[in-house]
């Protein structure tokens, strides 16, 4: 009997692999899709417009595979590699014809032609070049980095001090405060937007980094206080007591002993704070009006509007933002797990 547990038969192993591969395909499919869309040189989402599927009865499994390949692999890249790059979809060509048909006496004809020829020069990477040259994309990323970095650093500092007070001292109202912190997780989001907007406005911080950073760093507080408090309680109290006996004050015991010991938990809390601030858009959309102060979330949402969707630009922007953040979070998830085990072993 025990052998049946430890050794798994080959067919069963194959089934497991098959199921997991299917799950992997489903999990990664949208990621392949944005990469594919971002390399199309039109704003259409799909490739099926290009090669039509054969009518019922004539379709084979081969066509089916081709359909999927079209959806996932950007054909512009294949064309570019094979060297048979024929640029420009039909729409742009018609623009060009119109441009040549314009009256030669028109003083702006040359300008029109120049712009038309510029339009036809789209390549498979045009979405990316457009993104950086025609839009404030770098500025958006810069704004996001600035806002989320400072918000999470400030938030972590404030929550570390508060968590220290919660884990090491007794004071009246402690249970109530902890209950309140847990309760804030249940407050529906839109409830807070209007008063927070009023507070920030009355501090004269509307439409600036400062207002958004203050609002976000406080938003982060309850969750990181709970995480850090949980970790601080696993660090033995005797270490600080020894330092106190040697003449350390409570403040320097906190900064010199507890904080260095709890770097894993601080890193985890920072990571979570950064993640949530990085992809936050509701607060930003209410507090910020200036186009040059927008974080990337609002910028990308602008591309994906309903009536003038620029899916190509949106996909290119998504790839530029999603890939680094995904790599960062995958890389750090190892440390999250190791930080976990450290805490639980000590507890």
């Amino acid at each position: 009997m025990a052998a049946t547990i430890n050794k798994v038969s080959l067919p069963r192993l194959l089934t497991v692999h098959l199921l997991l591969s299917v799950a992997c395909i489903v999990a990664t499919f949208p990621i392949f899709r944005i990469v594919a869309i971002s390399f199309r040189n039109t704003d259409t989402v799909s490739a099926a417009a290009k090669s039509s599927f054969p009518p019922p009865g004539e379709a084979t499994a081969d066509d089916y595979v081709k359909f999927f390949a079209d959806a996932v692999v950007p054909y512009e890249i294949i064309d570019a590699i094979l060297g048979k790059e024929k640029a420009a979809p039909a729409v742009v060509e018609s623009v060009k014809e119109e441009a040549t048909a314009i009256d030669p006496n028109d003083p702006f004809a040359s300008l029109d032609q120049a712009s038309a020829s510029k339009v036809t020069e789209r390549r498979w990477y045009s979405n990316y070049t457009d993104l950086f040259s025609r839009y404030l994309f770098l500025q958006w990323i810069y704004n996001s980095i600035m806002i989320s970095l400072s918000a999470s650093l400030i938030g972590i500092f404030l929550s570390a001090t508060a968590a220290y007070a919660f884990s090491r001292f007794e004071f009246p109202g402690k249970r109530f405060a902890l209950g309140f912190l847990f309760m804030t997780q249940m407050i529906p989001g839109p409830l807070m937007i209007i008063p927070v907007y009023l507070v920030i406005k009355s501090l004269n911080l509307g439409n600036s980094y400062a207002g958004l950073v203050i609002a976000m760093s406080v938003t982060i507080l309850p969750f990181s206080i709970m995480v850090l408090r949980g970790y601080f309680e696993t660090v033995p109290k005797s270490l600080e007591e020894a330092a106190r006996v040697d003449g350390c004050t409570a403040v320097s015991a906190f900064f010199r002993i507890l904080l260095p010991l709890s770097t894993p938990a601080l890193a985890i809390a920072f990571l979570f704070a950064f993640t949530s601030a990085w992809s936050e858009f509701l607060l930003a959309s209410t507090l910020i009006d200036d186009a040059s102060l927008r974080p990337w979330t609002l910028g990308l949402m602008e591309f994906s509007g309903n009536y003038d969707a620029r899916w190509g630009l949106f996909a290119a922007g998504s790839v530029v933002i999603a890939l680094p953040s995904m790599i960062l979070f995958l890389y750090s998830s190892k440390y999250v797990i190791s930080g976990l085990t450290v805490g639980s072993v000590k507890g």
């Binding site: 810069y142 409830l191 807070m192 008063p195």
Partner: protein
């Protein structure tokens, strides 16, 4: 490149200055109070301070209520320092001061403000009065009109019961699929003697590490009726699996509902699409959680069970599930709250509330306050939602605690583990 650095640096300096000022104020306030609480003139000076603050507020045009607060707060603080604290708890107070300042400013004050607003009739119609006179009229004769209005059928949307039912359905469907699929994937990954577990796990966590906004917007582009991938895929599959019988074309898959839909126009389809997207987003979190729990179950337990003659499903039901419970129950509870309060997915899928018919309570609330500008009503509405959630959580903790008492230590460490492994994608909705 429009990378203008200078204004940003000035902004950041300004921010640093403001923060230092606020923190310094909080610390200095506590310091002064702790120094002088024992002097004879302490209470007298507090009363004088309160009086002057009250008169100042009244002179500046505030209402009697605000002026009264201005009078009462310093006096209350003075009494508290003098007779309750007596110089105790000095260190924790210093440590807590900055966080409490922030929480009062951006959590407690907004809550109280919204509570105040929920009894008043503040909408676009009365907004001018509010600006002019400083106070909106009470809603109804007792001020409770907004709360009654919540449960009434509204002209500007669906009735409360329908939206509540949809929210519960949304929470239930998502939770079931998150738990089921997450557990299934974790058990597949936990197959002994399998290679490539690390690669599979990394790939399967990708939906979790992808920024949520991007993920939802990509799905939305694929659900597009004419150019999206989903409809094309359904069409192509139906073409492939079809039979010509006489003049009729038979597509058997359409009989089970597998057919192209107008995903954003048909409310049922929109709700389905939102569910699919949220399930895709949420499965990895449950998978990681249950994988960690599964790996922590010692093999000897299974061996003992199989020696006792337990079959595979018996081992699953009697060994795996009970041992998973302490980890999965808190995770499921948090997941339920988050799904209930999940603004992002439905907000983005309906393009900011443009498409009707798939609203859950939170997005309906958002619509009431930012599309119809019914601020007072929205405040009352949000407190009703808040109360529902509180009851929901209370019942859940009661029900899950009733079964059998989980050892404190274990539950605590499981809870801590959950707090650490989860991703606070909620915080953007939490605000």
């Amino acid at each position: 490149m429009n990378l203008s650095v200078m204004p940003a640096i000035i902004e950041l300096l300004k921010l640093g200055g403001i923060l230092l000022l606020m923190l310094g104020f909080a610390f200095a306030y506590l310091l002064v109070n702790y120094r002088v609480w024992n002097s004879k003139l302490y209470l007298l000076s507090k009363v004088l301070l309160g009086l002057s603050l009250g008169f100042f507020l009244k002179a500046a045009g505030a209402s009697w209520l605000t002026a009264g607060f201005g009078l009462a707060v310093p006096v209350a603080i003075g009494l508290y320092f003098r007779y309750m604290l007596k110089g105790r708890y000095r260190t924790p107070a210093y440590f807590l001061a900055p966080a409490i300042l922030g929480i009062i400013l951006l959590f407690l004050y907004p809550l109280l403000y919204q509570f105040f607003l929920s009894f008043h009739d503040l909408s676009l119609k009365t907004f001018a009065d509010w600006v002019r006179e400083g106070s909106a009229p009470l809603a109804g004769s007792f001020g409770l009109e907004n709360y009654f209005e919540v449960f009434r059928d509204r002209a500007t949307g669906q009735s409360f019961v329908v939206v509540l039912g949809r929210t519960l359905l949304w929470t239930f469907i998502n939770l079931v699929f998150h738990l089921g699929l997450g557990l299934a994937l974790a058990m597949l990954l936990n197959t002994p003697g399998m290679r490539g577990v690390g690669i599979y796990r990394t790939i399967l966590t990708l939906p979790w590490v992808m920024p949520q906004v991007i993920a939802v917007l990509v799905w939305r582009s694929d659900f597009n009726e004419s150019v999206g991938f989903i409809n094309q895929f359904i069409n192509v599959t139906n073409q492939l699996i079809s039979f010509q019988v006489g003049d009729n074309l038979i597509q058997p898959l359409t009989w089970i509902g597998f057919q192209p839909r107008q995903w954003f126009v048909d409310p049922t389809a929109l709700f389905m699409a939102a569910c699919i997207v949220n399930i895709w987003l949420g499965v990895p979190f449950m998978m990681i959680n249950s994988l960690g729990a599964l790996q922590s179950i010692p093999k000897s337990v299974y061996e003992a069970a199989s020696i006792d003659g337990a079959r595979a499903w018996q081992r699953f039901y009697h060994v795996t599930l009970p041992l998973l419970k302490p980890v999965m129950v808190p995770a499921a509870m948090l997941g339920a709250i988050w799904t209930f309060n999940n603004l992002n997915v439905i907000y983005l899928m309906t393009d900011g509330g443009r498409y009707e018919g798939a609203d859950i309570l939170v997005t309906d609330l958002f619509k009431q306050s930012f599309t119809y500008y019914r601020y007072g009503f929205a405040a009352a509405y949000s407190f009703v939602i808040f109360a529902i959630l509180c009851v929901f959580t209370y019942l859940q903790t009661r029900l899950t605690a009733e079964g059998k008492p989980i050892p404190d230590k274990k539950a605590e460490s499981a809870a801590a583990q959950n707090q650490l492994t989860q991703k606070p994608n909620l915080s953007s909705t939490r605000v």
